[in-house]
Each structure stands twice: as C-alpha cells, then as structure tokens.
C-alpha cells in the first residue's frame, strides 16, 4: 500500500463536506431505493438482467456484429474499436475532417475511461461537458467522485466560486440560480457545437438501437442540435433484443437514484433529421478495450452484467466515508475496483481492492447480480499470487498455519500483555502496535483459552454418559441412535426408570476469538446445548478457520487451514458442527469448498461438502431446538430493552437475522431496533488492523446508532463484532454492555 494512498484516505475521512454529503446521501438512498422498488419483484428483475447480460457477455463478438449490421442497415456508421487509441483517433479524424471546433458531450464513462477530452483538447478542439456535475468537475479541473453524481464532494459555495470564475461575475451560492447560469452558458454551446458525443446505457443488437438515460435533458440536445453525433459504447452495453431494454430500465433508475424512471430516456435507431433537413451523421463506436478478455475469464465474465447504476457505491460503508477520489481511477467503488483491474491493469487495482471490507452490502443490491465481494477476493488472490505476500503477512500466516506454534504464541501473548491490560481490555499498546488500538480497546487474551476450559466442563448430566465428552476419544463405531438421531428422539421413555434420554452430539468449532479471547462465549454455547440434551465435543486439533488468510488472498494458507479442520471435524461422530462465530460458520459451510475450487484442488471438495452439511450457527440451531420443544427458556421475566447488531456474514451469507431476535425476545428482552442494524461495524477481521483510519469512523457511526436506541445492552452473534463494538464503547466510556446472543440465552435456559 503506497503512502500517497494512505494519505488520500486520511484527507478524505477528514473532509467533512465529503463525508457529510456522502453519508447523508447513503442514508437517504437506502430509503429511496426501497420505496422505488415497491411493487417490483427485485429478485425477478435482477435474475432477468443477469440472464440477459450474462448471455450477452458470452456472445459479445456475435452481438457486436449483429448490432453493426442492423445499425448500418438503418444508416448509422459503426466502428468496432479494440483499443482506446483507435477510438480517440477515429473521433479526432472525424472532427478535423468536418472542421469541428466545439464538441458538446453528455455523460459517457467510456469516454472518461479513455481520457478522450484531454486528447481532443490537445489538438485544439474544445470539449464541453454538459451534464451539470461533469461540467462543474471540468471547470474545476477535478475528477468525478461518484459515477452517477460526479460533483457530490463539492459544496454550493465551491460551485459558486467555480462558476463565478467561468462567467466573470460574482455569483451567490443559491442553487437554483447556479443551475440557471449553467443552463444559459451551456445552451450557447449546444447551439454552436459541430459535434455531439454521448455514451449509451444499452445497445440493442437486433435493432441497432442506442438507449440513453438522463435527467437533465442534455443528451437530447447533444443528439439533436449538432449535425454529427458520435456514441461511444462499451461492448458490455450490448443486449440481444429490443424487449431486453425493459428490465434494465426498470432497475437502472431505481437502483441509481431511487427514481421510477429518469426524466428522459432516448432510444436512437439510426439517423433522424437535423434542424436543417439533412440526416444526422451518426457514428457508433463499439469499444472493446479488454472487455472481450474479461468475458473470456470464467470468473470475471459476470462483471460485464454491470448496468453502471452505482448502487454498490451507495451502500458501501467504506465508499460513503472516503468517496471516489481515494480510488484514484475512472471507475470507483466495488465494481470500479474490478473494472480497473481489467480495463487498466491488475496491479492498478491493488490499493483499491484493499479498501473492501467484505461486508457484502453491494452483492445484496446489485441489479446485475454480480458477486462483487467474491470477485474482489479473487483479485486479491491473483495479486497475492503475482506479488507475493508482504513479509509481515508471510510471518503471520506462517504462524497461523502451524497450529501448535499459533496456539502456543497466543498463550504466551496472554502473559506478555499483562503490563497493558486492565479490566480485560488492552487500551494502549506499545510503539507501532498502538495504531491497532487507539480507536478502540482490544480484548485481553484470556488467561485460560477455551480449549483448556472445555475439559473442566461437566457434561455428565447430559443424556447417557457412556461416552466421554472429549472429542479426541470419540468412538469410531456408529450406534443406531447416532446414525438416525430423529428416530432416537422418538423413542419412548420408561416411566419408573431413570429417564432414558437419548443424546445428540455436536462438535463445537470455537474459532480463534472465542478460543483465546472470549472463552465465556464458548462456555455459554456448551451450557445451552447441554440443556437441550446435546453433548458437545471439542476436537482439539481444530485450528483457525482460514478466513483471515482467504480475505488476504493467501488461498494456500486458507486451504491448509480448511484441510486440517475438515480432518479434525469429520473424525467426530456428530450430528452438527456448531459455531458461534458467523465468519467461521461461513468458512466451514461455504468457503472451504470454494477455496479448494479456486486452487483447482477438486479432489478435496467432496469432504468439504460433507462437513458443510453438518455446519450450523448457534442461533439457528437453538431457535430450532426451542421450536421442537427440546429447550425451554425461562418465561415471565422482564429483562428490559436491548438492541441487536446484525453481523455481515450472519445476515448476508448465512441469511440469519430473525432467529437470534426471536430467541432474545422469547428470553424476555424488549427489542429496540437501531438505525442501519445490518451495516458493518468496521471490524472485517484483519481489516481493522490494516485500515484503522477507515475502521474507526465506521465503528463510530455504529456506536452512535447503538446509543441512540437508549438500550443498555447490545446483542450480536459474532465475537469479532463484539470485540470491535465492545472496544469502541469501552474507549468511549459508554455504559452500554455488549453480549453474544449465546451468553444472554445461557442465562435464561431452564
């Protein structure tokens, strides 16, 4: 990570205009988008878009040929350009041959991608951007900070300043007045320009149609008044049929700005008359510039399903904090990182990809159904493969990958930290490590890790006690009850005899945080499961779930972790593998197989899937146990109010949000929802260590939302979130307590 990059982050998070405007917008966006989609089946629409655009991405070349043929049959000239240079040369030649001195442009990301204005201006041709935001940016000599709202980082006072210089007139910061000035100034340019340049949002192959979407009406003028119209169209804009326009136009305005439809949509199918009676000289440039290459990559082809709505930016907790300039490229945010890696170069995406906290918000709202976080991880993996890990990361993973050394080190760390520890928190770390802790307190490493606590837990009361609770000594023979636990459950109980309670067994996967920082959460899990008649095993050979390695792109390390854990856990004769950490649950349930697949180790996928089938998160399992009547919660106790924080992996990968809420309400808590309960807390595993300057303000927002509920208690299902939020509240001196759902339920089981 370059120091200029770190510096640009620092500048952005301290720019209150920017963070204020973006923050307000992102909050309004959430509601506006939801309202715009009322009565529309978003899943159905995006599935249709993904089919249309996914199919198109697989046939770019044929569609481009078909488009060319049909558009030319209607009188347009179509030029297929493979490189940005060809596009620039074509336009320059065209402008020169017609003596064009002034060009008006409506918004085109493709033209920005190839830095067209600079090229034309260098040849003495004046180019005027006509989208208000783009014009402001052009006059200010800046770069857009958002794909849909390019000047969102500027205040009205700054815009007044910029316009005053342009028109040589002292202007006030009255927005309607500033807009009028823009109308007046740009109207002259529209009427005098020799050429209009536009992009296109959709290009239809079967009719040679361009679809252009705007709110201001500038594209209508750009395509009507000058006698030459040049449209620059990235190949990914192609769709086969005219009817395909409907689902895309259903999603694009709703996802971009929360509008049902933009003020103007223009569909151009061949030249229309000019004002002097001649026909428009219509040139359509189909630009490849690495799109075909991207389509040829099995993993990244789906990125071409993007409709450029910018919703991945609007919901991103990092983007709304730092804005587009930190990305330092034409495309920004989640999809921008991916496009930059292809349209520019993989290594150019290195800084950008490090901004992703993997919260998954963007994947939820993407109308092109693109798994943006997964593609960013894939970039990270390829970058790590190309560049190798940093020495620091290599050292860390060498330790993590050696279970014994890792565990020994964590134990000794619990002794070394003593001088810095107070009340179970570390508030100040020495020297360079202090950057990790100065926005929140870190938990002290437990004096006795869960793996040492576990053998002291008495499970003798749980059902039959013929077997040891220790996973290490689990029997290799499968009894009928174990093979068919459902049947065992139904077996009748003799009335005079001691209850013949048949026992289910579950293996507990603790994960590093519960094992070494929060063993009490592990104890709570065991207590609750025991009460439901479930005997818990704790296989000692379990190690890190591999998530930190995977999210850092170190897939080989993640695969070693996966393999060790699969061996340890499949050795157990258990019905469930339970975890109280959503990140670990996701690793065990979804990522082990994915990691093997990415590395081409297909032989190991079956065992990963065998394990995955048994894996369940604590709240889901316990909610079921309560429903089945196997577990009873004390009733009639009023425990007061609490609020609940949804962890990213819990909510968006495991799709669990109702279960813990219901459990806590059954237990006697009055739930008060916080604002943005499912917004990331800024932890992101090692992200908070690598990017403390971003993690801290994201956490701050979360803390404000928690405290605003007035609840004295916040529950969550993730020890990572608990570490971040508890540390933040402690640092702030807040009285709000933080508990894992398991701890709260453990207090209330009968």
């Amino acid at each position: 990570m370059s120091s200029t990059f770190k510096q640009s982050i620092d500048e952005a998070v301290h720019n209150s205009n920017l963070t204020g405007a973006l923050g307000r917008f992102s909050e309004a966006y959430r509601e506006g988008r939801a309202k715009a989609y009322e009565g529309v089946d978003f899943e159905a629409v995006r599935t249709r878009i993904a089919e249309i655009k996914g199919g198109a991405a697989a046939h770019l070349d044929e569609l481009a040929d078909e488009f060319k043929q049909n558009a030319e049959a209607r009188g347009a000239k179509v030029f297929r350009a493979s490189s940005p240079e060809q596009v620039k040369d074509y336009i320059l030649k065209l402008a020169k041959s017609h003596g064009v001195e002034l060009i008006v442009k409506s918004k085109s990301m493709a033209s920005e991608e190839i830095h067209l204005n600079k090229h034309l201006e260098a040849q003495g041709i004046h180019v005027a951007e006509t989208d208000l935001g783009e014009w402001i940016i052009q006059l200010a000599g800046q770069r857009p900070s958002h794909m849909v709202m390019p000047a969102i980082h500027l205040t009205r006072e700054e815009v007044a300043e910029i316009f005053s210089k342009e028109v040589n007139e002292r202007l006030s910061s009255d927005i309607p007045r500033l807009v009028k000035i823009a109308r007046r100034e740009l109207r002259e340019k529209f009427l005098n320009a020799g050429m209009g340049i536009s992009g296109a949002n959709i290009a239809v192959a079967e009719t040679g149609t361009l679809v252009i979407v705007t709110n201001e009406g500038n594209a209508r003028l750009v395509t009507t008044l000058p006698k030459i119209h040049v449209a620059i169209v990235g190949l990914e804009k192609l769709v086969p049929r005219f009817a395909d326009v409907a689902p895309i136009l259903t999603a694009l305005p709703r996802s971009a700005t929360g509008q049902l439809l933009t003020s103007y949509v223009t569909m151009i199918s061949g030249p229309a008359p000019n004002t002097d009676g001649s026909l428009k000289d219509l040139h359509i440039i189909l630009m490849d510039s690495h799109r075909t290459e991207m389509a040829g990559d099995g993993k990244f082809q789906q990125a071409l399903q993007c409709i450029r709505c910018g919703s991945c930016l609007n919901v991103c907790p990092v983007y709304r904090l730092v804005g587009g300039h930190v990305f330092s490229k034409v495309y920004m945010g989640g999809i921008g990182t991916i496009l930059t890696a292809w349209f520019d170069a993989l290594k150019e995406s290195d800084d950008m990809q490090s901004l992703c906290i993997q919260c998954g918000n963007c994947k939820e709202v993407c109308p092109g159904k693109i798994d943006i976080p997964d593609l960013i991880l894939e970039l990270r993996r390829r970058l790590t493969k190309d560049n190798g890990q940093s020495p620091k990361e290599r050292a860390i993973f060498a330790v993590v990958n050696n279970r014994r050394v890792f565990h020994a080190m964590l134990r000794s760390a619990s002794l070394l930290q003593k001088p810095f520890e107070k009340d179970g928190f570390i508030r100040h770390l020495p020297l360079f490590l202090s950057g990790m802790a100065d926005f929140r307190s870190l938990p002290a490493i437990a004096g006795k890790p869960f793996r040492d606590v576990f053998p002291t837990i008495d499970q003798s009361e749980v059902g039959r006690t013929s077997r040891s609770a220790r996973g290490l000594q689990a029997p290799q023979q499968t009894s009928p009850e174990q093979a068919f636990p459902e049947r065992a459950l139904e077996s009748p109980r003799g009335s005079g005899e001691p209850p013949h309670q048949c026992t289910d067994r579950a293996a507990f996967f603790a994960g590093c945080l519960i094992d070494f920082a929060y063993p009490e959460m592990g104890q709570a899990v065991v207590k609750v499961l025991n009460k439901a008649g479930i005997e818990v095993a704790f296989p000692d050979e379990q190690t890190c779930c591999g998530a930190p390695a995977r999210y850092s792109g170190a897939y080989e390390v993640a695969a070693k972790n996966a393999s060790d854990n699969i061996t340890a856990l499949l050795k157990q004769d258990v019905r469930w593998v339970v975890s109280a950490c959503p990140t670990c649950t996701v690793a065990l349930k979804h990522e082990f197989a994915a990691t093997f697949e990415s590395l081409g180790r297909t032989g190991e996928i079956a065992r990963a899937e065998e394990l995955a089938a048994k894996v369940v998160d604590f709240s889901t399992l316990v909610r079921t146990l309560v429903e089945e009547g196997r577990l009873k919660l004390k009733s009639g106790v009023d425990l007061g109010t609490l609020t609940y924080h949804d962890s990213c992996h819990m909510k968006r990968t495991l799709r669990v949000d109702r279960q813990p809420r219901e459990l806590l309400q059954f237990a006697g808590y009055d739930l008060v929802e916080m604002k943005e309960s499912d917004m990331c807390c800024g932890m992101g595993g090692s992200y908070s260590l690598k990017m403390p300057e971003i993690s801290a303000p994201i956490l701050e927002r979360k803390l404000v939302n928690i405290e605003a509920t007035g609840a004295p208690l916040v529950a969550m299902d993730c020890p990572g979130c608990a570490m971040q939020i508890r540390g933040g509240l402690d640092k702030k001196g807040s009285a709000v307590r933080v508990r894992h759902t398991a701890e709260l339920i453990a207090d209330m089981v009968e």
Binding site: T130, I175, L225, T257, Q259, Y264, S269
Partner: protein, 204 residues
Amino acid sequence: MPTLFESFQSRAQAVSAEVHRLSTRAEALEFILDLVRSLEGDRIQPSFAVWAACPFLDGLDTAALTERAPGLAFQVTRGSASTATVGISQMDLGLADTGTLVQNATAVEQRLVSTLPSVHIAIVATEAIVPDLGAALSRFYAKDGKDPSKQQSAASPPPYLSFITGPSRTADIERVLTIGVHGPERLIIVCVDELCLNGLGGGQ
C-alpha cells in the same frame, strides 16, 4: 385498483409534472390557448409559443389560433424554438406505472419544442395510456413486425423515440433537487378523452 389514468396522473404529479384532463378536443384547445395567453402576459412576441405539427391540429385553422393567441407559431425551427418560452406537442403514449410520456420524435420539430423552451405542454390521448414500459416497447417494435395483437408494431423502432417523465431535473449540487436544467422547467400534460391512440377520435 386505480385506473390507468389515475395511476398515470399520480405518478406524473409525483415527479412535478402538472396533469389536466379534458373530455373534448374543443375544450382542450380552449384550455391550451388560455394557458399560452396566461404565460404570455404582456410579453407578446412572435413565436412566444411554438406548436409542432400533430394529429390534434388536424383540420384546425392555425392562422385563426394565432389571432386568438398572438405569440403562437406553427413554424418550428431551430431559431424559433430556441427563443420560444412554450413548446407544444402531442405524445403517442403515456405509461401508467411511471407517469411517462412516449413519443416518436423522429421529426426534429417534435424534439425542438420539447427540449428548448422552458415550458412544455404535452397533449396525450387518455386512451393512449398503457400500463408500463414493456407495453410501450412492444408498440414500437415487434420482431416480425406483424404481431396481430399489436397493430402499431413496426419492423423497426422509429429512429428517435423519446420517453419523458416530468420536467428536466438535476441534483448535482449538494443533492438538492432542482428543476429545469437543460430542458423544460414545467411539464404540463393535457390528457384528452376524445382523442384516440393515434390521433383524433371517431375514425376508428
């Protein structure tokens, strides 16, 4: 269930369009002339309002109309449209679910009157309001060009097809919604019951 018109009206009003419904062409004409005169006030000048050729005007004596509203012109040129305050045109369809107007705007005067003046008066047949975008698209193009259920379908979409939803707008400065950037700042929609889908009533 709201009718197509009711839905169209509420959607259009939600994006700052003004919607009026009149039963006959004669009433609509009086309404439009009143509107032009009220906008004109004392600022009477030739081509204060430019009205693009459309089925609504069929059989009407335009010279007589100009006498009644002195700034009204029926010659639409780049020059007249760029100095006019009001543009008037007839649209082909309305979309109920978004309050959108749809027009084959291939003839350049249709585009000039709806882009350059600051007020756009858009006439549309109440009957021409269809449910949604999908319905509109199939009116303008069907692959084989002879989909029997959609007689308006053609073998090729028109060269310039316009969709208009409310007046021109921007939120590019501080996300503050501002009406009337490059296009009209007022969109006045006049729905006429007597008109049929593609022109005057009575002929179908």
